[in-house]
């Protein structure tokens, strides 16, 4: 039985984790490797790091933190933000990341998905897509951190990305993101029904119930940032509750650190 995954997302700028609300009022929150280890201890199944300074593309010297995270973290992690070519993707994987996520660059150059997946394997390529609702059952793809319409339909884009070899879809609803009022479950359902790969739901988590709704809508994993950073939702409590409500969850034994 495959369990559903809980994925905290950390924003990184200049090699430090930053916390903020919708990219505003950013505060230094700590060292990526230390925070990664804390989330692993709390029971996170996987982590996603988004470099919001987009230094992944421009300043390769700023990537030492990826290797430091890998030294501390023994669960899978994805790194994204500003990756524009397959050599950057390969470098991030060689530093110890399990997956890279592609967003704006893949919209501009869809063949990037194929090049990355043939170089690194589909399992290492996550397509991050920011979706804006344009009507009932219709969403448009947004690029540049969700600020600019790409002029393409969400469902046709995710299908195309899968045919090019992406191994997972990280689906963020721009409408829900930052609201703390729940995931866009209709969007999750539509994407999950359209693609043969796992779907990670993102945007809108505010309380435990929202995660339950995402999984019942077909999400394989649910990602959140602020509720975990600010402690409104505790991962171990969340997983225990979801498990008791019939969602298969990985629950790691207490005292698992003994002897390690």
């Amino acid at each position: 039985m495959l369990t559903r995954r809980i994925i905290p997302c950390l924003d990184v700028k200049d090699g430090r984790v930053v916390k903020g609300i919708r990219f505003r009022e950013l505060r230094d929150a700590g060292d990526p490797a230390t925070m990664a280890a804390e989330y692993m201890s709390e029971g996170a199944d996987e982590l996603v790091f988004l470099d919001i300074g987009a230094s992944l593309g421009s300043r390769s010297t700023m990537l030492e933190w990826v290797s430091s995270v890998a030294d501390m973290l023994f669960i899978p992690f994805t790194v994204g933000g500003g990756i524009v070519d397959e050599s950057q993707a390969r470098r991030i994987i060689s530093l110890g990341a399990d997956k890279v996520s592609l967003n704006t660059a893949a919209v501009r150059d869809p063949d990037l998905i194929r090049r990355c997946s043939s170089l690194l394997g589909s399992q290492a390529v996550v397509l991050a897509v920011d979706a804006l609702r344009t009507g009932r059952g219709h969403w448009e793809v947004m690029v540049r951190a969700g600020t600019e319409p790409a002029g393409i339909d969400l469902l046709s884009w995710v299908r195309k990305a899968c045919s090019l070899g992406c191994g997972e879809i990280l689906l963020t609803s721009i409408d829900s993101d930052g609201t703390l009022e729940g995931y866009d479950t209709e969007c999750i359902e539509a994407v999950a029904a359209s693609v043969p790969v796992p779907v990670i739901a993102s945007g809108g988590a505010g309380r435990n119930e929202h995660f339950l709704e995402a999984f019942r809508s077909g999400a394989d994993a649910a990602l959140a940032a602020s509720v975990f950073h600010f402690g409104t939702v505790r991962i171990c409590e969340l997983k225990a509750e979801l498990s008791s409500r019939g969602i298969p969850m990985r629950i790691e034994a207490g005292g698992a650190m003994n002897g390690l």
Partner: protein, 204 residues
């Protein structure tokens, strides 16, 4: 010293990191001619990618004969993910290719699953007790998987895993060769504990 076989199939750094966390020294080996090859206590064969290209790479770098001889001498060997599959008799991936033939069975594409690849945390059902690793756990005993092909349960199966209607070998053991279809090095503290028990079981 533990040798990590590097044959160009995926990132092996994280296996070394996990061993380091357990206090075990490891060295990445490009070729069996590496001077370190003579002083190894155990070999790890990791791997991500496709079976035929991985096998071709092992053969061309001289690893296939080195590994076969290593196994014949019953020395400790751990295969992870594709590295475990390579230790089987063969695979149907990309046509039919031969493996190293330690574990019984032919690797085949998983059938009966809702989605492929099989990505995420799944449970093990132990078929044969694995010493030191059978303590009861309060929750689901999960490990991290990423694969589309698997080994049907056979002679050397120690644990199986099921996803939708597909059941495959998730742990195999033959003599002092152990294979994991999942990634113990990415399976949290539980995975590290399993790796630690594996080293004890292998007498390393």
């Amino acid at each position: 010293m533990i040798g990590l076989i590097d044959y160009g199939a995926g990132n092996i750094g994280n296996v070394g990191r996990a061993l380091k966390r357990l206090g075990r020294e490891s060295v990445v080996l490009d070729s069996p001619d590496d001077p370190c090859s003579g002083v190894l206590e155990a070999l790890f064969l990791p791997g991500v990618g496709s079976f035929p290209s991985a096998m071709a790479s092992l053969v061309s770098r001289g690893w296939s004969s080195f590994i076969s001889e290593w196994v014949r001498m019953d020395r400790p060997l751990v295969g992870i993910c594709l590295g475990m599959q390579i230790l089987c008799e063969g695979s149907t991936e990309g046509g039919r290719s031969e493996g190293l033939g330690v574990f019984q069975g032919i690797v085949d594409k998983l059938s009966g699953t809702r989605k492929l690849p099989h990505v995420g945390w799944n449970i093990l059902e132990w078929v044969v007790p694995f010493p030191g690793d059978m303590e009861p756990t309060p929750g689901l005993d999960c490990f991290y998987f990423v694969h589309s092909y698997g080994i049907p349960p056979a002679r050397d199966t120690v644990a199986t895993t099921t996803v939708d209607n597909a059941c495959f070998t998730s742990v195999a053991k033959r003599g002092r060769t152990i294979g994991f279809q999942f990634h113990p090095e990415r399976s949290g503290f539980r995975g590290l504990r399993l790796l630690s028990h594996t080293m004890e079981e292998l007498g390393v």
